[in-house]
């Protein structure tokens, strides 16, 4: 059986300048309880959001940061209630705009750990533009994208990740839209860190969060999140005991192999993509060894295409890509300090007088 519960070592080396550089450390990192706000959690019973919240509340103390230097910014949707339940700074903003607001905050304040909580409708539909631009700029943010493949808060319309043909309140004859694959989209948007995990797998979720927080730049984490009310069972193939044929685990430096006793594996396909083969039909050395640090995102993209587009039976889980690239906010702050160093702190009177001022005598 292939489970990720034991595979918490994702094979990632420590980064030199991590995502939390510049954020003040707490002498005493605090407890899960201290990171929990006094607000009553109001998701439907059985919602996958609970598991993610518990994982995040449990994981945050581990970062060792001052609690007041952590900020969560969310958009609109069920998952966007997230900030209310954490005793950090938090902003529940408007639909789709959290990455834009977080970009301003992260650029203004290098001493904050900034998190974005969003959903498939929030990030990929109304806020699609902000998401792709945050990714290409590589702003130092960690984006948790709760993908439940449905609109929950507005009571069950199809979303931009819903499979074609989905029958919902707004698509009685089945949806006719082709869905987005969030991982493929992020890779195409020049993302430097893209991962996928599952709400119910606390250990894997936590290990991905750990890597995401440590990444300097925009880290996009897609979380398969079950909505028991409007899209129950969408991710059942990835839960419980029998996931070995469904989860294609991506572990940096390891051959990509899954299925009963590792009977299936991924090899390069002619034409630049990848394909799934019976491992018995190829030599051990022929299996693709996952390289999350590859400069070229082509293989990561090819792996992302192993995700079913319709009902999900099979998908790669893990960190697709993690590369270093200067971040927008670091560069923006650097330009300000470089200007100050080379020109000196600006003198307002000189500035406004300009070059062509004249004097009218008394």
């Amino acid at each position: 059986m292939t489970t990720l519960d034991e595979g918490t070592d994702l094979g990632m080396p420590e980064l030199r300048r991590d995502g939390l550089f510049g954020v003040p450390a707490a002498p005493d990192p605090g407890t899960r309880k201290e990171f929990t706000s006094d607000q009553e959690v109001r998701w439907c019973p059985g919602c996958g959001d609970y598991a993610v919240l518990a994982a995040v509340q449990g994981f945050l103390p581990e970062l060792g940061l001052k609690r007041e230097n952590i900020t969560f910014v969310s958009g609109i949707g069920c998952s966007s209630r997230f900030p209310y339940y954490l005793d950090t700074f938090g902003m529940h903003s408007i639909h789709g705009r959290a990455p834009a607001i977080a970009t301003g905050l992260a650029t203004a304040r290098g001493d904050l750990s900034v998190w974005v909580v969003t959903g498939d409708g929030d990030a990929l539909s109304i806020g699609g533009n902000h998401l792709i631009h945050a990714l290409r700029r590589n702003v130092n943010l960690t984006i948790l994208l709760f993908n439940n493949r449905i609109y929950g808060l507005t009571k069950g319309q199809y979303s931009p990740t819903s499979e074609t043909g989905k029958v919902t309140k707004s698509t009685p004859m089945g949806s006719i839209d082709a869905p987005f694959n969030p991982v493929s989209l992020a890779l195409g948007a020049e993302a430097t860190f893209v991962a996928r995990t599952v709400d119910s797998d606390r250990a894997h979720l936590t290990s991905v969060l750990r890597q995401a927080a440590a990444h300097r730049g925009t880290a996009l984490v897609e979380i398969f999140q079950n909505c028991p009310i409007f899209n129950d069972g969408a991710f059942d193939s990835f839960k419980g005991r029998d996931t070995e044929g469904s989860i294609i685990p991506l572990v940096h430096g390891q051959p990509v192999r899954f299925g009963a006793d590792g009977s299936l594996g991924v090899v390069r396909a002619p034409g630049g993509g990848v394909r799934i083969v019976e491992t018995s039909s190829v030599g051990d050395g022929d299996l693709l060894v996952h390289d999350a640090h590859a400069d070229d995102a082509s293989t990561a993209f090819a792996l992302s295409r192993l995700t079913d587009a319709g009902h999900l039976h099979q998908a790669p889980i893990g960190i697709f890509r993690q590369v270093e690239r200067p971040t927008y906010d670091d560069l923006a702050r650097q330009q300000v300090s470089t200007a100050r160093e080379s020109l000196g702190d600006g003198d307002l009177a000189t500035l406004i007088a300009g070059k062509d001022a004249w004097t009218v005598p008394a």
Partner: protein, 628 residues
């Protein structure tokens, strides 16, 4: 040959040519010379929305008008005394604005059959007598320029391009402008290209000498320096003054400035300018769209920066939801709307003031915000500081309504004493502000993000990184005080009224309505806002010179209005409200104060002419009271 010198009080010159003829530069240089000479001045650039409309067409005409005088003037002038037309289209496009007797200097070089047809002329206007009302100087400026610069080995095209400097030289001679600023300017601009530098300086000097020697120009004019208050001056456009005002507001508040913006005419210059001044701690973010521009500014404001966004009307429409969020979050934010002709894409390079109602009402729900409007290019500096003051003091988004006329127009600016500018106190929250009962009845200190200052009703600005003040805010309605989500009917009613009351309290710090009523017995009041200040003032002056008493009030604050405004309006028999829209301020004045405001409106994309306003003011002020 000695020339006659004639004294004038004021002159209006318009340089007009094809977009590629460098008329904006020519106008700007003439303005700089005029400023250095010491005249009062006011400018009005006008250019096409297209970057390069087809050459020689009416659509491609670009112009720059400068009005200068030996007294203080208020507008760029109604009708040019001198038109410099570099091609047939420039002549045809500007001809309707001329009065009989105006001087027209025409470069005849492009008056070919083809170019005449392109401009829509059936016959050559230089030959058919249609310009006989004017003092016409038809000269082949291009050929003269090419001849003058022939030693520099330039291509014919490059040589001909120096014709604008020739024209500038000629006009500089005619009005006795100092030449050093322009020669210095050309030397630095073309420092890397010696041949172009020398050709342009030569063309400029040749233009001057041409005036001096040719018999075509018998008269030179002198406009004496204006009596201006003592001090140091510069010439400045509204957008530049606005950018400087924002930088100054950053200094006065001690807050780093963060501008989030998306390029849009006529606001982009604010982004360009601020991006040059990072050594003032200014961060500029060119966003993916208008929404992200204001979103990032709001995010920065949440983080304790002076968040600013600058756009035009279409951008405000896109930003509306985020501005509503800022109203709800009660965070400081300065939103600059450099208005242009609308609706939709409208007239991107033309002026209008039709966004007042959008600024005041253009959001869902009851979402009040303060509105300030500068009245002149230099006033953009002070208005920016005032907008920031209100935003920071009251923790609210503030709309600043400039427009295309103020943005690109310029005037001399008496440089302010930086030390005398008002400080802005951010007063960040540092400590808990509320006591609640713990489980065992003990007192627990906590932070309530919506516990208000009793004086201003502002809530605390508690920025991330402040220990013990961790809290959550959002767009959902909040409980008074605690800021927790609340759907309670009475609480919502209270919060809606409280947000409105907070904005209303701004009136306590904006002073009384200033009314200019020199004789003190006027029965007619002219009320305006924004860029109409100059034309209204000029119109009022004309009428007063005829012995008619008229009072003028110009509103800097459009929301809230000064506390005494209603009383002021009711003191007069007649209230006239000229606006470059279809009556937006007059609608608000009528609604709020139940007065019978009379509107006067035009939306031609151009500022009012002083003369037309004088006619309207005279007519209303001299109407006999008709009893109902």
């Amino acid at each position: 040959m000695s020339k006659q010198v004639k004294q004038l009080e004021r002159v209006i010159i318009r340089f007009a040519g094809d977009s590629g003829d460098g008329m904006q530069l020519t106008g700007a240089r003439f303005t700089a010379e005029t400023a250095a000479f010491g005249n009062d001045l006011s400018t009005l650039p006008s250019f096409p929305a297209e970057i390069r409309a087809p050459a020689g067409t009416m659509a491609g005409v670009s112009s720059f008008q400068v009005h200068f005088a030996d007294f203080d003037i208020l507008t760029p002038g109604d009708s040019p005394d001198v038109l410099v037309a570099m091609n047939p289209a420039a002549l045809r496009a500007n001809r309707p604005d001329l009065r009989p007797g105006a001087s027209v200097i025409v470069d005849t070089h492009d008056f070919t059959k083809r170019n005449l047809a392109r401009a829509g002329y059936e016959q050559n206007p230089l030959e058919d007598g249609s310009l006989e009302d004017f003092n016409l100087h038809a000269l082949d400026l291009t050929a003269t320029t090419v001849e003058a610069v022939k030693d520099f080995g330039l291509s014919r095209k490059d040589a001909a391009r120096a014709k604008n400097m020739f024209a500038l030289g000629l006009l500089s001679w005619m009005y006795g402008r100092p030449t050093e600023p322009t020669i210095e300017f050309l030397s630095t601009t073309f420092a890397a290209k010696a041949d172009l530098r020398d050709a342009n300086i030569t063309a400029f000097r040749a233009g001057w000498n041409f005036g001096e020697t040719t018999e075509a120009f018998a008269v030179r004019y002198e406009v004496r320096p204006a009596a201006m208050a003592q001090g140091r001056y510069r010439n400045i456009t509204g957008n530049l003054a606005l950018a400087y005002g924002l930088i100054a507001a950053g200094r006065l508040s001690g807050l780093p400035v963060f501008l989030g913006a998306y390029p849009i005419t006529p606001a982009s210059d604010v982004l360009h300018e601020l991006s040059k001044h990072k050594n003032f701690g200014v961060t500029t973010f060119q966003a993916e769209d208008e929404i992200a521009g204001v979103g990032a500014a709001l995010g920065a404001a949440y983080g304790g920066h002076l968040g600013v966004t600058a756009t035009s009307g279409p951008g405000i429409a896109l930003k509306a939801e985020t501005i509503g969020l800022a109203v709800m979050l009660e965070l400081p934010l300065v939103i600059c709307d450099i208005q242009r002709g609308g609706p939709s894409t409208g007239l991107p390079t033309k002026t209008e003031q039709a966004d007042l109602l959008q600024a005041k009402f253009g959001r869902n729900g009851e979402a009040p915000l303060p509105i300030v409007a500068p009245r002149s290019p230099t006033d953009c500096f002070d208005a920016a500081i005032e907008a920031a003051r209100i935003a920071v003091t009251y923790r609210t988004p503030v709309m600043l309504l400039s427009d295309g006329y103020l943005a690109n127009g310029s005037e001399p600016w008496l440089l302010p004493d930086i030390d005398a500018l008002p400080r802005i106190e951010p007063d960040f929250a540092r400590t808990t502000n509320h006591t609640v009962q713990g489980k065992d009845g003990e007192d627990v200190q906590t932070f309530w993000p919506y516990q208000r200052d009793p004086q201003t009703l502002a809530r605390p600005w508690a920025i991330p990184g402040t220990p013990g003040l961790e809290h959550r805010i959002g767009g959902l309605e909040k409980e008074d005080g605690s800021g927790d989500i609340s759907y309670e009917p009475a609480n919502h009613d209270l919060m809606v009224r409280t947000r409105a009351a907070k904005v209303a309290r701004v009136a306590e710090t904006i002073g009384r309505t200033y009314v200019d009523d020199p004789t003190g017995d006027a029965r007619t009041l002219v009320v305006g806002w924004g860029s109409t200040y100059g034309p209204i003032g000029a119109g009022v002056r004309r009428v007063r010179r005829e012995g008619i008493a008229v009072a003028q009030a110009h509103l800097r604050h459009l929301n809230p209005f000064p506390a005494d405004l209603g009383e002021v309006l009711h003191r007069y028999d007649r209230v006239l409200v000229p606006e470059m829209n279809l009556g937006q301020l007059s609608m608000l004045l009528r609604a709020e104060f139940l007065i019978d405001a009379v509107g006067y409106h035009q939306v031609r994309g151009l500022p009012f002419r002083a003369e037309e306003l004088a006619d309207v003011i005279r007519e209303l002020a001299t109407t006999k009271e008709t009893s109902p």
